[in-house]
């Protein structure tokens, strides 16, 4: 993963696989990251993330973690983590690199007379294979003295959010990544609300479930449509709510499948069926 090296970070993958299975995987995929073998799930247990819904005699499934990703700073302190209920989905590298970088927002300098919130919305990545999440990113520039609201908000205010169209098929949204907030207390009713100030970046991980791809001569595509909403206020008054819709047409890409048997040429071969049998037999 050259992107991680370029970011000055090291990538580790822990699983309950035997070391020889990891070696075969590494060889087959040309992986350069460090793969760690935890066949007795000791590391997984020490993190408290053993999947306890699986019975101890249910091999080979017993011993897996609730899969997820931790991102640390250079002191080894966790600065972000990504865990979702659905194991089919894992964060793509763009998402992890964004967490590593933190938010270095490079927005255009605003002029003093420009008192409007501006927002830029992008889909970060060049494809959306089934099961890999990538992020819709909304970068707001909020004038000094103004703020946007974090969810939830009382009726009458609009929180800053990225929302998919309710009738959009085939695209699933996951847990939004949002910046730090400040607390403010409303003068009227004494309500305390959490607000964003300055340059504000919201990220919504999305993935596709394979059910809404379209095909043409150029390939397979998914459409991601929705809107970014917000409302900017200062200590005395609020602007009208703002809204910007988005419509991204993204190549569907291809998911790298596991090698579980004869399928020459389709997936990188790594003796998957043999390793699977060994894992099923171990106790």
């Amino acid at each position: 993963m050259p992107g991680f090296e370029a970011a000055g970070a090291k990538l580790y993958v822990v699983s309950y696989d035997e070391a020889d299975a990891l070696a075969d995987y590494k060889n087959a995929h040309g992986a350069t990251f460090t793969m760690l073998s935890d066949p007795n799930s000791d590391v997984i247990r020490s993190f408290g993330i053993l999947n306890t819904t699986i019975a101890e005699d249910d091999h080979p499934w017993y011993g897996i973690p609730y899969p997820g990703v931790y991102v640390t700073d250079s002191d080894g302190v966790i600065i972000e983590k990504f865990f979702e209920n659905n194991f089919t989905v894992r964060p793509g590298p763009e998402q992890l690199l964004a967490a590593l970088r933190g938010e270095e927002v490079a927005l255009q300098e605003r002029s003093d007379s420009d008192a409007e919130v501006t927002v830029e919305v992008e889909f970060e990545g060049n494809s959306l294979p089934v099961g890999i999440s990538r992020q819709i990113v909304a970068r707001f520039s909020v004038p000094e003295g103004m703020h946007l609201y974090e969810e939830p908000v009382p009726e009458g205010l609009v929180a800053a959010s990225i929302e998919l169209d309710p009738d959009l098929e085939g695209i699933v949204a996951y847990t939004a990544v949002t910046p730090k907030t400040q607390s403010i207390t409303l003068t009227g009713d004494g309500h305390t609300l959490e607000v964003y100030e300055g340059d504000v970046v919201l990220r919504l991980p999305v993935a596709q479930n394979g059910r809404a791809m379209t095909k043409d001569e150029e390939g397979r595509w998914v459409s991601i449509t929705g809107r970014v909403r917000w409302q900017a206020c200062d200590s005395e008054a609020c602007d009208l709510p703002g809204e910007q819709s988005f419509d991204f047409r993204v190549p569907a890409g291809f998911t790298v499948m596991a090698d579980m048997g004869p399928g020459e040429g389709r997936v990188p071969p790594m003796n998957g069926a043999t390793h699977f049998q060994k894992m099923t037999a171990r106790h």
């Binding site: 499934w61 609730y66 302190v77 194991f87």
Partner: protein
């Protein structure tokens, strides 16, 4: 914390089962490799905590101490189900 599996989803055809988010796989949602937790589940140490120490064998058999090995660099640590299946 007693955690249940998410078994929501329909059979769509032979070896085709969808889960609550519409993903299709050959086994029903809530079975074997699709042991997704329903609702909240443990996600380990919190943001702001130091990543716990990890010493484990790498694919080449050498023992790796993650914090020593990262040598002052930030780390991305992925817990995967399996690279085999």
């Amino acid at each position: 914390m007693q955690i249940e599996r998410d078994k929501r989803g329909e059979e769509l055809g032979p070896n085709q089962y969808e889960d609550a988010e519409g993903y299709i796989a050959p086994l029903p949602a809530g079975s074997g490799p699709r042991s997704n937790p329903l609702g909240e589940f443990p996600t380990g140490p919190a943001i702001g905590e130091r990543l716990p120490d990890i010493v484990a064998s790498a694919s080449d058999g050498r023992s790796v101490d993650l914090h020593a090995d990262r040598d002052g660099q930030p780390a991305v640590l992925v817990f995967s189900r399996s690279v085999v299946w």
